[in-house]
């Protein structure tokens, strides 16, 4: 082992571009279709757990962020998904101040999965595996607590909706869409408040309310920008076009009692996409930059790294560089 490989300095980057995510997942997810299928099962499991334990949407949302983020730097293993999802939920409960005892989470985990003849040994084994994963998840997030802290999609829908005077029906539809958003990995790309604005826009377009003039001023007022919102907008519309049959919006949508009461079908989203024109969103980085990006190839389990430092500010990295020369 070389003495020069003792320490790694990692600058936290809570959001990555599509290319960067694809590159990171190339190292960790052998088959993306299996991963996506399993994630739907995991979301169902976590949703049931949250309903059973009376946890709010923000806890579920943060759990999914951790789950997706973990798999950027750690290999996806199908047999690990439930302990991992449980660990993500445990951490999310702590992060969102909706604390539950780990033992309670583990017992409920078996209950919602309908596992028969659960023994104390089985609960203990799940508890141990969950604890082992907790630090790994935090490490995948570079111990960066700035996200999933004050901003959550559902709360932002209400706040932004109120600010731009959206109707209750629009906000409710946006809230339904926000659940389906958890099936995508857009939270790794865009901050939650921008996703909330995007789903409000999708909801308004679906209900044809024409309430908001979506321009730079509105985006600025909602502390976001057109590129971020467009990125999320197209992600949501594409999701429904590809997976309309398995979406929650279709099952739970209630047409507003007054005004135009459109039915939501797959065609609604195809029309939205057509009206929105060519896909646009965040600027993408070049392939060369992705190739050179060492964060995307970082091995969190490397035995040669004795110390791994996580910093939040670029200035600290620059300072460090200076001190080395």
């Amino acid at each position: 082992m070389s003495a020069g490989f003792d320490m790694e300095l990692i600058l936290s980057r809570p959001y990555l571009t599509r290319k960067q995510i694809t590159r990171a997942q190339r190292n960790t997810i052998p088959d993306l279709r299996v991963y996506t299928q399993k994630k739907l099962q995991v979301l169902k499991y976590l949703s049931d757990l949250c309903v059973y334990m009376l946890l709010p949407r923000r806890t579920l949302e943060t759990t999914i962020y951790y789950y997706d983020r973990y798999h950027l730097f750690n290999v996806f293993e199908t047999e690990m998904v439930y302990p991992l999802a449980t660990a993500c939920l445990l951490l999310s409960c702590k992060q969102t101040e909706t604390i539950k005892k780990l033992n309670e989470i583990c017992i409920t985990s078996f209950r919602v999965r309908k596992v028969p003849n659960v023994t104390t040994e089985m609960v203990e084994a799940l508890r141990k595996r969950t604890l082992q994963l907790e630090l790994r998840i935090l490490e995948a997030c570079s111990f960066d607590y700035r996200i999933n802290n004050f901003l959550h999609i559902d709360e932002c829908i209400v706040k932004a909706g109120k600010k731009i005077s959206c109707s209750k029906e629009v906000c409710y539809t946006a809230w339904l869409i926000a659940y389906d958003v958890l099936k995508t990995d857009i939270m790794l790309v865009i901050p939650q408040h921008s996703i909330a604005v995007a789903v409000l826009k999708v909801a308004e377009d679906l209900l044809k309310t024409n309430n908001t003039a979506w321009n730079q001023d509105i985006y600025a007022e909602l502390s976001t920008d057109i590129k971020s919102v467009s990125e999320a907008y197209f992600e949501v519309v594409n999701f429904y076009i590809n997976m309309f049959d398995s979406c929650e919006l279709r099952r739970n949508f209630v047409a507003p009692p007054s005004g135009p009461a459109p039915e939501i079908t797959l065609k609604s989203f195809i029309d939205l996409k057509q009206e929105a024109g060519p896909e646009h969103g965040l600027d993408e980085v070049s392939n060369e930059m992705v190739d050179r990006d060492r964060l995307l190839a970082v091995d969190m389990h490397s035995q040669t790294v004795r110390e791994r430092r996580h910093v939040l500010s670029r200035s600290l990295v620059i300072e460090e560089q200076k001190s080395l020369h």
Binding site: Q95, R127, N149, H310, L316
Partner: protein, 305 residues
Amino acid sequence: MSNPNYSKEKKVGEGTYAVVYLGKQLASGKSIAIKEIKTSEFKDGLDMSAIREVKYLQELDHPNVINMIDIFMAYDNLNLVLEFLPTDLEVVIKDQNVLFTPADIKAWMLMTLRGVYHVHRNFILHRDLKPNNLLISPDGIIKVADFGLARAVPGPREILTSNVVTRWYRAPELLFGAKHYTYAVDVWSIGVIFAELMLRIPYLPGQDDVNQMEVTFRALGTPTDKVWPEVSTFPGYNKLQIYPPPSRDELRKRFIAATENALTLMENMLMMNPHTRWTTAQCLECDYFRELPEPSNPADIKLSK
């Protein structure tokens, strides 16, 4: 990749969730404190206090709030690198060899209020302010520390635990078991610290939770519905002995060296009704900080004989 950046030199303390070491930043030779988080001793995983500490210190950057320099994982242990702060206000208050002046108290209050104002304007409640958590840097600057009990301002429907803040510094709404409370709990704690700085002994030293109510209300008067509407609806209110609030003269006798403006500030920080208690902004703008003597220069305050 490079060599490790920090050295741990001496263990200086151990709490429930961390061991604190004194160390050095190797590149600069600067003294630092390293908090090694115990990760394997808790049945619910990483301790909530550790999570809160990291979470809120990452959000805050202010001269009067402790600075978290770095986070690192070494040998599967989580370590927080904090700025090195050699002493705290509790040590200073207790050290009978240290003489301090009203100007020194004013400087400490000003720095504490500035730090807590910054915490509050970032929508964070500290919930454990006490002299022991007001650390002092080598150049005399007060730094608000220990965010292990801190939390973000809750939504209107969120229920909070009232079992926060070290007993002697606990606001009356917490003593009554309130499930909703505000930044005012921190202001109360600073008010008690202010009194303690002037008296040099703890102002409201309750022996247990019940006695704390007795001690608090005997010193400052039992709140009534007149000064705090609906206070009597708190469970346990009926069992209370009703004490009158202290008159200005009684306060003058108790705090001999305090000016009128100092007493006004203290009284308003120790208002029973949290809705009328001053905010940190009101405290910072009060006449006490405008009158003479001017606050001491922190670097000039002698903390050892």
